[in-house]
Structures are given as C-alpha cells and as structure tokens.
C-alpha cells in the first residue's frame, strides 16, 4: 500500500465530512484525514476525553497528559472541552458522534464490520472499536481494498469476528466507494482505472452499480 493510495482514501473520506460534524477518527488511514479537510471545520472527538482535538504540537509544547486515543501528543482547538472516559462514551454510545471513520479487517455486503480480532491470533485488544460501531450515527470504513495477503476486505460473510450489530454506511478504498444498505452493497464511485470486471474480481462480495461504466 503506497502512501499515495492512503492519501487518496483519506481525501475521499474528507469529502464526506461537513462543516460542524463531530468526527471520531480511528487509527491508521483515518488519522490522515485532518490534512485534507480544506476549509471545512469539523470537531474531532478523542475517546480518551476530548472534543476539539488539534494537530500535533511542536516539540516544546508536548504534554503527555494531552494525547490522542492513539496515545500521541496533540493540541486543543478553540472551543475544545475535556471530560472523563464515562462522559466520553456517553457521547459515543449515545449517538452524538456524527461520523466515525474506522479501519477494518473485513466488511460484509450489508456493512457489518470486523475490526478488532483475527481468528487464531491472540485477541487482547478492542479499545473503543465496539463502542463506536454501536453508537456512531454514521460509520465510514477507510481501508485498503485488499488485506496484505491479497484477500478482499469487502466480503459476502464475515470470517473474522464481528464488531457488533452496528453497520458501516460506506467503505472507501483506493479503488472505489461503496455504500451499504439492507439490500446489499452498491458501488457509487470508482477511484481508480480498474474496470468494473477487474474491480469485481478483487472484491469478495457482489455489488450493484449506480452508474454505467465498462
């Protein structure tokens, strides 16, 4: 996965965000998004207890008691507020986060997400993944189209452990933007030169298509 592809995904997800949205960004590709928001003002929520997360500080302004959920030093935007973990998850689980942008190991054709555990590997971390899946109003998965072993991330049925009953609304990869509903997966945009046939070949679930394309 090139940095270019990661940036392409981040840029495309950034388009989905609107002024005033409260957004929680997962680790990995989602953390690139703030660089591509242009004039849009979104409020970043960090589940360890901050609304209004700002960029990384200069070296001389680091405070290791002001960190992101990824445990990196951060700053606060104007209008930021601090709260404890229980209040933070009132915000997340109570449906007050407009958009969560998360990574994923797999997503099924209806948007069900697996993003915390790989079968056969030690399952020792979940963090806030399941809380976000259960509580965010809208979930966008930002992920490479395929796993490192080449297997598609979008699948008919999850083979990795589910993250819960919450569903992703959208999947953005370096090749395409998919939208999920109870009817299944719809391709709503292509982001690379792959033909529909080529795209289907590297995708683990069938999808319908909103536009005509060869």
């Amino acid at each position: 996965m090139t940095q270019g592809s990661r940036i392409k995904i981040a840029k495309r997800v950034a388009q989905e965000l609107s002024d005033g949205d409260t957004v929680n960004l997962g680790v990995g590709i989602p953390t690139l998004i703030p660089d591509y928001l242009g004039d849009k003002k979104v409020d970043l929520q960090s589940e360890n207890g901050l609304l209004g997360m700002g960029p990384t500080p200069d070296d001389e302004n680091i405070n290791m008691d002001l960190i992101s959920a990824s445990k990196h030093p951060i700053t606060m935007e104007i209008g930021a507020s601090i709260f404890d973990s229980s209040d933070s998850f009132v915000m997340i689980r109570g449906g007050h986060i407009d958009v969560a942008v998360l990574g994923a190991l797999q997503v099924d054709q209806f948007g069900e997400i697996a993003n915390w555990a790989i079968p056969g590997k030690d399952i020792l971390g979940v963090g806030g993944a399941m809380d976000l899946v259960a509580g965010a109003r809208r979930i966008i998965i930002a992920s490479t189209h395929q796993a490192k072993d080449g297997k598609p991330k979008l699948v008919e049925k999850l083979t990795f452990p589910t993250s819960g009953n919450g569903r992703a609304d959208m999947l953005v990869t370096e090749h395409a933007v998919f939208q999920f509903s109870a009817k299944g997966t719809e391709l709503i945009e292509k982001l690379s030169d792959l033909s529909l046939e080529e795209l289907q070949k590297i995708t683990g679930a069938t999808f319908t298509c909103r536009f005509i394309d060869k």
């Binding site: 404890d84 973990s85 971390g125 809380d131």
Partner: protein
C-alpha cells in the same frame, strides 16, 4: 492535610488478592509513584482493572515482572508485548472489555447501580455468556458493575480537603475509579489550600478521596520522569 500519607503506607492498604482500579489511558493520568511502590511490595494474586497494562516496562507494565498479578481487566493489552507473552504462557488471566463498557461498569460500581444494558458488543465474542435482551427492537447485553478494593488514581492537584483536578486528558478513567474503590488513593503533583480550587473546577469531590500521596515524578519536556532518577 490529614489525607496526606507517605507512599510507603501503600503496603498496609493493599492486601493479597485485592482488586485494584488503576487510572490512566496509555501512560497519561497514570499513578507512576504508586505503581513503583506497589512493585516493591511482595503482594500476590492481585487483579488490576485498567484500560491498559501500561506499556512495556512502563507504568503498570512493570508489575508484569514482579509476579503480583493474577488477572488484568481492560480494553487494550496488545500494545504491551509483555502482557501478551504472560497471557500466552498462562501466567496472566485477561478479561477484555470494550472501553466504553469498562468506563460505564466502573461508574455503576461507584453509583450503586448493579448493571446496565448496552448495545456495545452485542452479538460479538465479548458478549458470550452475557444476558441478551431486546429493547425497542434492538439487542442489548447486560453488563455488571465493577468495584475495587483499592483505587490508585492520578490527579494534577489536590486541595487540603482532597478535592481533585486533573491534567487535560490525564483525567480519563481516574474520576470514575475514584467513585468505585473501597479505599481511594490519589497521587498528586501538588497540594493547594482548600478554597484555591474553584467549585466549578473540582472534578472529583473530596468525599471520594481517602488518601493523598505526593508524586515522585516531575514533568520534563512534557514527559514524566522519576525525580529520584533525574541527574
């Protein structure tokens, strides 16, 4: 300052087999001094409830080398290889809890609530053995309150009554843990006179705090370092 004790008194407050609630997210808001002190003691079969087990050789991570731990309850252990190794070797039990559920279970422990129904983790491996129940067409699971014998928390400042304020996101789990321990010990950087903290600023009212211990750590370049080990 009747709540102020020496850190060496920790030995009398923690018993073998105790359940400890330990504040912190990663290393922020971590009671380093209290953990250092605990590592010196010959305690056994402790259960530690904390979001993480610190990092390798840092914060709670140091307890993995002392043989005092029986079990860890938290949301994310993968970032400390030692925890994963001890678990693989069968030396450490681990109970994995979603972060929001962990915070809420501890809050309930402090609030006199026995349990609550949440959508988080419903339908997942982490709901195995938990009661499911449908409310308004959606599936929830019953999660039960967590209480501790002793809470070890970290605040920025206390006043002489024991009211606490925290440093930015160093707040994290500390305030809920202050409510849910039978004994609550707060490590602080500074103790000011009662009245110096505004009634609006106090995050943990003194009623929750039994003892205060002065931190042995200072911040250098925004990072905590052991004052005793500084040059």
């Amino acid at each position: 300052m009747s709540k102020l004790i020496k850190r060496t008194e920790l030995s009398n407050l923690i018993k073998d087999g105790d359940t400890l609630l330990v504040g912190g997210f990663g290393l922020s808001g971590t009671p380093f001094t209290l953990i250092d002190e605990l590592a010196k003691l010959d305690k056994k079969k402790l259960t530690v409830i904390s979001n993480n087990l610190g990092e390798k050789d840092k914060g709670l991570g140091i307890l993995l080398h002392t043989g005092c731990l029986k079990k860890a309850v938290g949301s994310y252990f993968t970032s400390n290889r030692d925890a994963v190794n001890e678990w693989s070797k069968g030396n450490l039990e681990i109970e994995l809890v979603p972060q929001g559920t962990l915070a809420e279970r501890i809050r309930c422990g402090g609030a006199g609530i026995a349990g609550f129904y949440t959508k988080t983790a419903a339908g997942t491996k982490l709901a195995e053995g938990k009661e499911e129940r449908v409310f308004d067409g959606e599936t929830y699971i019953l999660e039960k309150a967590i209480k501790g014998d002793v809470s070890l928390i970290k605040a920025l400042k206390a006043d002489t009554k024991g009211n606490l304020v925290y440093d930015h996101t160093g707040r994290n789990f500390n305030p809920v843990m202050a409510t849910a321990g039978k004994i609550v010990i707060a490590e602080v950087q500074e103790i000011v006179e009662a009245g110096e903290l505004s009634p609006y600023e106090i995050t943990t009212p003194h009623v929750y705090v039994d003892y205060l211990v002065m931190s042995n750590y200072v911040k250098v370049g925004g990072r905590y370092v052991d004052a005793g080990k500084q040059n």
